[in-house]
Amino acid sequence: MSELVAIFLGMVLINNFILVRFLGLCPFFGVSKQLGSAISMGVAVTFVMAIASLATWLIRNYILIPLDIEYMHIVIFILVIATLVQIIELFIKKTNLGLYFSFGIYLPLITTNCAVLGITLINATQDYSFSSSIVAALGGGLGFTLVLAIMSGIREKLELANTPKSMKGLPIAFIIAALLGLAFVGFSGII
C-alpha cells in the first residue's frame, strides 16, 4: 500500500510529467489559455492514460513477454493506444453525445500524445505490477492536470497584465513555465 502511495505522489509531484519529465509539452502551451479547456484536456489525458496503461500492461505481460519480443514495445504500444482512443471515441459518439461534446476535440487530439505513450513505457521499463501501473497512470494524469490548471490560471491573469509588447503571449509563457519548473524541482527528495 505504501508503495502505491509513493508511486502516486512521485508521479504527481516529484516526477511530474510536464515540468520534470518534459512530456506532453504541446498541450501544456496549446491548451493552457483558459482554465476550463485546460481541465477538460487534463481529464481526457488522465482517462486515456489509465485505459492505455491497463491495455498495454495486459499486452506486455501476456503477449510480448511470453513471446520474448519486448523490444518491440514502442511500436506496438503506439498501435494499441491509437486503436483504443479510436474505439473510445466511436463508442462515446454512439452512446453518449453529451460526453462526446464535452470531450470534443481533446480525445482525438491526444491519440499520440507523448505523455500517454510515456506512461506506458515508464510502466514497462519500471516493470510495475498491474495495480502499480494503474496508480502511476492516474497519478501522472493528475499531475498533468494540476500543472495545466496552474499554468492556465497564471496565463488568464497574464492576459490582463501590462506585459511588454515583445513579451506578450508565448514568450512570457515560456518564462513562466521555467519558473514553474524551478518550483517543481523543490519537490525532489520529499520521498
Partner: protein, 281 residues
Amino acid sequence: MPIGIMAAIGLACGLIIYLVYIKVPQKVKGLEKTEEITSILPGMNCGACGYPGCFAYAQALSQDPDLITKTPCSQVLQDPDSLAKLEKALGCKLDAAAMCKKALVHCGGNSETVCDYSGVQTCKAAAQLLRGYRKCPYACLGLGDCVEICPQGAISIDPEKNIAIVDPEKCTGCGLCVTECPQDLIELVPAGTKVAFLCNYQPLKNIPGRERCDYGCTHCRKCFKACEFEAIEWNKETALPEFNQEKCTLCLKCVEVCPQNTLADFTKMGKEKEAELVAAK
C-alpha cells in the same frame, strides 16, 4: 516472427475498430442535422468562421441558424450550389454578394529596387531588414509568402510588376494571406467593391531614407475632388483616399483622373487578367 505478431496485432486492432463501428447501435439521435450541414460545408477546416473546424461550425449552425449571417462560411458563399443546399437545410435566405469578401493587394508594383537582397527568399525575412529592399517601404516584395499560404491558389506573382496579384474569381476571402503579409498590404474588401486602390504609401509615417516609388499615390487628392457622389473620403491620418462602395456608381472618373494609375476597376480585375492570359496563349 516479430513482423508476423506485429501484423496480427495490427489486424486485430483494425478488426476491433470495425466491429465497434458496425455492432454498437447508434443510440443518439439529433446529430442528423449537424451531419447534413457538415456534408455541405467545404470540409477544409480553415477556421475562418472562428470555429475549430467545419464540424464545430455545423454544430453551432444547427443550434442557431442565425449564425450564418454573423459569421458566414466564406467558402460556401462562393459556391451557388452548396449555398442553395445550405439555405434549404437552414431554412433561410442569404444575400451572398453582400457578405462575400475578396482579398486585395494594396500595391501597384514596379517600385524600384534600392539594394540587392540575397537572403532567405521569403517576404517575412526580407521585411525584417528595414521593411524590404524596395524604394517604397510599403511595397509588395513579391517573394510569395501569400502564394504559399493560399489554399485556393488564387494568388500569383505578376512577372512584370513583381507583385502579388489576387484573382477575385478564385479567392474565397478566408483571410489567411492578410495575416501572412508582413507589409500589411492585403485587405479583405467586400466582393461588390467597385474601385480598387493600389497603393499603401503613408507619408506621415515615413521611414528615413526611403520614399514613395515613382508609381505610387502622390496624395494629390484629384480623385477626391473628381468624385461627384461623395464616395471618396480623405483619410487624414494616412493621407490616402477611402472609398465608400455604397455611394460609388462606378463612373470611373477617379480612375481616369488619377495621374499615377493607382486606381483600378476592381470589377474587371480577375477577368482582365484571364483575358490577358488567353491573349498570351
